[in-house]
Symmetry: C2
Subunit: 468 residues, 2 copies
């Protein structure tokens, strides 16, 4: 039972924060946040959560039975972790992978490792066989004349660049998102790209495309990096004929499910501190780094805060979003929660793997504030920089509510090797280091608790002034 | 045109070995060997050879059209490199991969990445579905009672150990070679093992098995490492049902082809210095490190020696063996060449990837000899140790002729990451470093040339004495 007066909480929190028994009431939130972080660092709950999710559920493609099983599993886990739990369903078109095979037919018969892009239309059941035109950069494809690819398969083999912050992925994204339509515009009958990935394994990187309106939809697939190399080498020697077969299907009546766990605020329960990750995953791996790790982090934070002797003043809401990979999560959440937008006092999302956090960015309204100085005091032992620049969109689950004015925080993780396994069959539990995952929980726990307990206003003055 | 007198050669060799113009006739072979090594280090011919083989031919499973295409390709290449070339065919049973799929059916439906073991029988077309019994060590399987696996699928998930010299693979080999028969002996209807590999990618490691006589043959496949982890985790929670479908076939009337390039000796052409590698490969990758690299190394050595102003005294024979992966190469070669066994004065094989050579072992007859001291003088700049212990069997292509008394040399390569990609789809050209490949050519060139030119007797006194 949770008391409503402040003093039992102060006493209990002081007991948790044992080294800080001399703390004054004023710095108690900071001390409790520090104690939460310390507890997270030596706790393997989130790691075990991730092990269970990736083993006992495994892949969980949006809108499938597997995603529904994951949601039921998550409900049980969040309840056991002390949260009030509910689910929110929404309609979606599920894309279901079929057969996917590729081969060089001429001049040197051999298999090509590829995977259909999410949303791709199918080839005929017998596949498509045609000469391939290789473009070593996406700009070269865009420069190709209309009709120049008539009857051909276009292949863009531009390399994505490895960076710590994932900028290489962001800038290469149009190659996957828009390349098929750009190829179709020029007459191509199918589209291949070098996987958006930084590894050199024979594992293709999945990911969704977006067909442009008014253009024919052509089948599209990502090649494993070594297979893109092979096409480059052989096409430099002469004409190359490729055969691909992709048989994905759609379920237009699918539902996705978002799972929500809450720790109701003890003073202002309608003010919500939202931390989220997405529960759906691509189907090739088991969604460990994308985004089981995020689910494990935010669920672990919820558990630690729920276990405090007293709930924070504001509500902490842990959201495990459905159908992020298919592009539904952000819009669906914004649509369902438009009315409470002004009450979401902070939103943060973790969807970049399980490596250490190295940077934190606060909303524009808080970059130079007493709150920033408080959180800054907690970060050095956690190995995190507080960056003066404000957070931008935060991530695809929360960018829509962020656009509505919800203050966004962002924590940058080391993504140097994230795109080695992102969206591949290699995204499995063994890739995650327990200590790095725990550091994420620690940083998110400290931040989430502080925002929930101190009642800080993170809205920028400008944004706040716009509100009626 | 190649002269028969020594002096034109001395002059020409001295020109190659420009820094050593003051060399006496006595140390000329050493200087020429050193010049060959230096030339190899700055030469990308072998690297380009490997690029072409792995791209323009690609996978080349023994006894298939692809292997035959590789042989025709190699004939052209070795001729262009200045060698006299012929082929030697032999009959074999070709094993042809079919469909291979695996899945956990209960309790958590998900795909398993696996690959059929070479030589495995097929499952019924609809596959086999049964409960899996997981053994975390091979010894546990061997300790299981007869009948204890009736109707079950046995899975051994023992880890192979990473070592520089490949000892971990050697000691784990019975798990793949004999595990299926040991499982069948105890009643199992199919056999799975954790891939003999040191990576953690979702790529299974192929490799041949050997069924024991008098036991039922059951289908057998290797799991990718993360998939073996998954079976371990789920089987610790309760019963696990697995479905596997493997549909390999056999061609009992296949032929394999060994390609031989020679530089005929100018004085004792019937004395043969044999260096070899195998031309066939597994079909999942393109056989870059196994063993296209070896083909590129020995072919590069042949080319460098053929380009000398004068052939060495003895014949240098470059052998690109067929059907090594299926276990035919060594026996076939020994059978075809039994009569000239006494004339093969040295045999060496390179079949351990493209990393640097770090150790050389000479035949027992030469470990403490003037020849050893000569070669030892060349090795320090190449980063190679001459180890006092004699070479053992050398490799599977030459172990049979070695057992007949042919002196064997062995060059150890750094194999720390060899079993990350060995026998997987990942065995592709991009994994090879040009400078490391060139170092191999340098060391083999120096050794091969010295043995061919100096006429050293590498037979051990004991072995020689045994000969009639």
């Amino acid at each position: 039972m949770v008391g409503r007066s402040r003093w039992p909480f102060v006493i209990a929190a002081a007991l948790i924060a044992a080294p800080y028994l001399t703390a004054t009431a004023q710095d108690l939130p900071q001390k409790t946040a520090q104690a939460l972080a310390n507890k997270a660092l030596s706790d393997d709950w989130s790691y075990k959560f991730l092990e269970s999710l990736t083993s006992e559920i495994g892949p969980r493609l949006a809108g499938t039975d597997a995603e529904a099983r994951a949601a039921a599993w998550a409900v049980t886990r969040l309840k056991a972790a002390g949260m009030e739990v509910h689910t929110e369903s929404f309609p979606m078109v599920a894309w279901l992978r079929g057969v996917e095979t590729g081969a060089i037919v001429q001049p040197a018969p051999q298999r090509l490792v590829l995977t259909a892009l999410g949303g791709s239309v199918a080839t005929p059941p017998e596949g498509i066989e045609a000469q391939v035109v290789v473009f070593r950069t996406y700009a070269e494809l865009l420069a190709a004349a209309p009709g120049s690819l008539d009857g051909k398969i276009a292949a863009v083999t531009e390399h994505m660049v490895r960076t710590m912050d994932g900028m290489g992925y962001g800038l290469a994204n149009p190659i996957r998102r828009q390349g098929a339509s750009e190829a179709a515009r020029r007459g191509a009958i199918a589209y291949l790209l070098r996987s958006l990935g930084t590894d050199n394994h024979r594992l293709a990187h999945a990911g969704a495309l977006n067909y442009a309106n008014g253009l024919g939809k052509i089948p599209a697939a990502a090649l494993a990096n070594p297979d893109a190399d092979q096409l480059e080498r052989l096409s430099a020697l002469g004409p190359v004929t490729v055969h691909i077969t992709l048989t994905p299907t759609e379920n237009k009546d699918a539902q996705s499910i978002t799972v929500v766990g809450e720790i109701k605020g003890r003073e202002t329960p309608d003010e919500v501190v939202l931390i989220g990750a997405h529960l759906d995953s691509w189907d090739l791996g088991t969604g460990a780094i994308d985004d089981g790790a995020g689910d494990a982090i935010v669920s672990g934070v919820g558990r630690l805060i729920a276990a405090l002797p007293e709930h924070p003043k504001r509500t902490v809401r842990v959201v495990l979003f459905g159908a992020e990979e298919m592009g539904y999560s952000g819009k669906a959440y914004e649509k369902a929660h438009a009315r409470e937008a002004a009450k979401i006092v902070m939103a943060g999302e973790t969807d970049f793997g399980a490596r250490r956090v190295y940077e934190m960015r606060l909303p524009a309204g808080a970059t130079d504030s007493a709150f920033a100085r408080t959180i800054a005091g907690l970060l050095p032992p956690l190995g995190v920089l507080l960056v003066p620049e404000p957070a931008q969109h935060g991530g695809s689950d929360i960018q829509e509510i962020g656009a509505d004015g919800t203050p966004i925080v962002s924590l940058s993780q080391n993504g140097l090797d994230y795109f080695d396994i992102h969206h591949t069959a290699d995204d499995t539990f063994d890739k995650v280091e327990a200590a790095e995952l725990a550091q994420n929980v620690a940083v998110w726990a400290a931040l989430t608790y502080l925002v929930a307990e101190t009642g800080v206003d993170l809205r920028s003055p400008a944004k706040s002034a716009e509100k009626p």
